[in-house]
């Protein structure tokens, strides 16, 4: 019992900051609470949810957010794995390499978001100058909807790949080296080793990195708010940004809460599915390995 008392303060804080808001959103989502009601909550019989389901803008933002999350996380994991494999050997200057690859991850997102705005600036930024002198054509990176979202993905990959690589490197170092030696004795190529030993044993780490990164990327906010403000043509708007604007710009708290609780439900089911898939894959891999 005294053990639980030690746990209590931490638990209370978690409930206050995580659970309370969710209940509040659930309640608010059934109320009109906006500038038109003078910022007073009035029950509106699910009108928010009706609007939510038919809100083309929300679904566009959701697709964009998922697109951002999947593309950036996939790229981060593939690149991170390559980097981790390379770094997983005796190296000089390991400390220096580690620190310098940690720097992008450690900087506040808003700091470099400003930097990216300048680097991708048309026509004065370095990328655009390169394009102009190389291809004779301006890229207009932040003004073109088909390109702008890729620049945000790029900025996210820049920031997070080193971090993913470090996690995977830690995983690689737990794989006993005699496994590889045994495989080599049986004449397995490096490619086979990678597929049969490295990736299956790394799966838990890959799964972990995947889930954490997906959840984080799903809530992308700082980067797009500062870098593009959601434009052009709302092609970089994420659901968090949409919810933020509904609250602070449009003063529509009821609907903002609906967006957030709706997105939460969606993400929870997504993570549940991902969890199941990973568990099944892991069990199957373990089964193959046992044979």
């Amino acid at each position: 019992m005294p053990l639980l008392i030690l746990l209590l303060p931490s638990l209370i804080l978690l409930i206050a900051v995580f659970a309370l808001p969710l209940f509040r959103y659930g309640w608010l989502s059934f109320h009109a609470d906006s500038v038109m009601t003078g910022l007073v909550a009035i029950p509106n019989q699910g009108a928010n949810w009706q609007r939510f389901i038919h809100d083309a803008r929300y679904w566009q933002d959701l697709i964009q957010t998922l697109r951002f999350a999947f593309v950036s996380v996939t790229a981060e994991i593939v690149l991170g794995l390559i980097i981790a494999l390379i770094l997983n050997q005796p190296l000089r200057m390991r400390a220096l390499i580690r620190s310098s690859s940690l720097i992008p991850w450690a900087l506040p997102t808003t700091v470099m978001a400003l930097g990216w705005r300048w680097i991708f600036n048309t026509p004065y930024g370095p990328i655009d100058r390169l394009m102009q002198s190389g291809l004779g054509q301006s890229l207009n990176a932040l003004g073109e909807p088909s390109i702008a979202w890729i620049t945000t993905v790029y900025a996210d990959i820049w920031k997070t790949t080193p971090f993913v690589a470090l996690i995977l490197l830690a995983g690689l170092q737990t794989i006993p080296s005699d496994l590889y030696e045994a495989a080599k004795l049986e004449g397995a190529s490096s490619w086979i080793c990678l597929r049969r030993i490295t990736i299956p044993l790394l799966l838990p780490y890959l799964g972990l990195a995947l889930m954490f990164r997906l959840a984080q990327a799903f809530g992308v906010f700082d980067l797009v708010q500062v870098m593009t403000g959601g434009g052009p043509a709302s092609s970089t708007e994420s659901i968090a940004l949409y919810a933020y604007w509904n609250a602070l710009r449009f003063l529509d708290f009821g609907y903002s809460a609906t967006i957030m609780i709706g997105s939460f439900l969606f993400l929870s089911s997504l993570i549940l599915i991902a969890w199941l898939v990973i568990t099944v894959a892991r069990n199957r891999a373990a089964g193959v390995y046992a044979k």
């Binding site: 053990l3 931490s10 770094l87 830690a170 490096s190 080793c193 997105s263």
Partner: protein, 288 residues
């Protein structure tokens, strides 16, 4: 990648691998540090040089951007101190709550410990930006707005999952005989805690502290909604606000100077605390 491995059959495998590794390392360094180097370059260029970089100019280099950033009102350094303050307070509060909690978690039965761990992982997976509206309401009702100390409350909550999981691992790794021996010696719970357990898990505490500090230093959405007084802004919010605060036609010089000044403390931090950061992240990944 596949080709490197295919070539591994030949005799000069290790040499090739070394070369590939060196190439990758250089690529990695350019990738990570290139954009920062560009900001550094930009921050010393005159506006004219930024717009026409190839023209021969009488005046190419300048410190004026740094002057404008440092002499602004309030001075930019102020934001660094605010972030430092919020970071330290949050770290202390986080540890105060997380150390007892993780000690108890490491002593709990397997079932209940697993339950709490799943709860914590669930919280860690939550995109916390979605909490901002309710947290704003909490700040309003409890009058916590515009206070850097109050900011430590949500920060401590958001850091709890990571901190508790990391510290629970550290406590679980200690041999249980140790505490029994101390108990036999007649040490009270507090004494055991203070003189036996804490010193032994201090590396884990250091890793946790630095990760929590980094999180609090960099946090944006909550600081954005809780702090509106310009004297109280933390660095990330101040940076975002600079984005809209210049009437220069090309305001990128001051931006760049601000990014450089804003990056220096973190670069130093990472350089100095590289080891605990990496070990915190990796044990978090391996055992979490």
């Amino acid at each position: 990648m596949a080709r490197d491995h295919g070539g591994a059959k030949s005799g000069c495998r290790s040499l090739r691998k070394m070369k590939a590794a060196r190439f990758m390392i250089i690529a990695l360094l350019i990738w990570s540090l290139g954009p920062l180097a560009w900001q550094l370059y930009t921050s010393f260029c005159t506006d004219q040089a930024l717009v026409t970089p190839f023209a021969s100019l009488d005046q190419r280099w300048t410190l004026v951007h740094y002057q404008s950033v440092l002499n602004s009102n309030p001075p930019f350094i102020r934001y660094l101190f605010n972030s430092l303050f919020a970071g330290v307070v949050s770290t202390v509060l986080t540890l105060l709550l997380a150390i007892p909690a993780s000690y108890s978690l490491s002593k709990l039965g397997k079932r209940s410990a697993l339950f709490f761990k799943c709860l914590l992982i669930g919280c860690a997976l939550f995109p916390y930006v979605l909490l901002f509206l309710a947290l704003l309401e909490i700040a309003r009702y409890l009058q916590l707005g515009n206070s850097l100390i109050a900011l430590a409350i949500p920060y401590a909550a958001l850091s709890q999952p990571l901190a508790v999981l990391l510290l629970t691992n550290a406590f679980s790794d200690l041999p249980p005989e140790l505490e029994d021996a101390a108990r036999v010696e007649g040490l009270s719970v507090l004494q055991r805690f203070r003189w036996v357990l804490l010193p032994l898990i201090s590396p884990a505490i250091a890793s946790t502290a630095i990760l929590v500090f980094l999180f609090s230093w960099n946090e944006y959405p909550i600081a954005l909604t809780w702090i509106s007084d310009s004297d109280q802004l933390t660095l990330p919010v101040a940076m975002a606000r600079i984005a809209g605060s210049s009437i220069h036609s090309v305001p990128y010089g001051p931006y760049a100077a601000a990014t450089v000044i804003g990056s220096i403390p973190l670069i130093i931090l990472v350089m100095v605390f590289q080891k605990p950061i990496v070990s915190g992240l990796t044990t978090g990944a391996i055992k979490g």
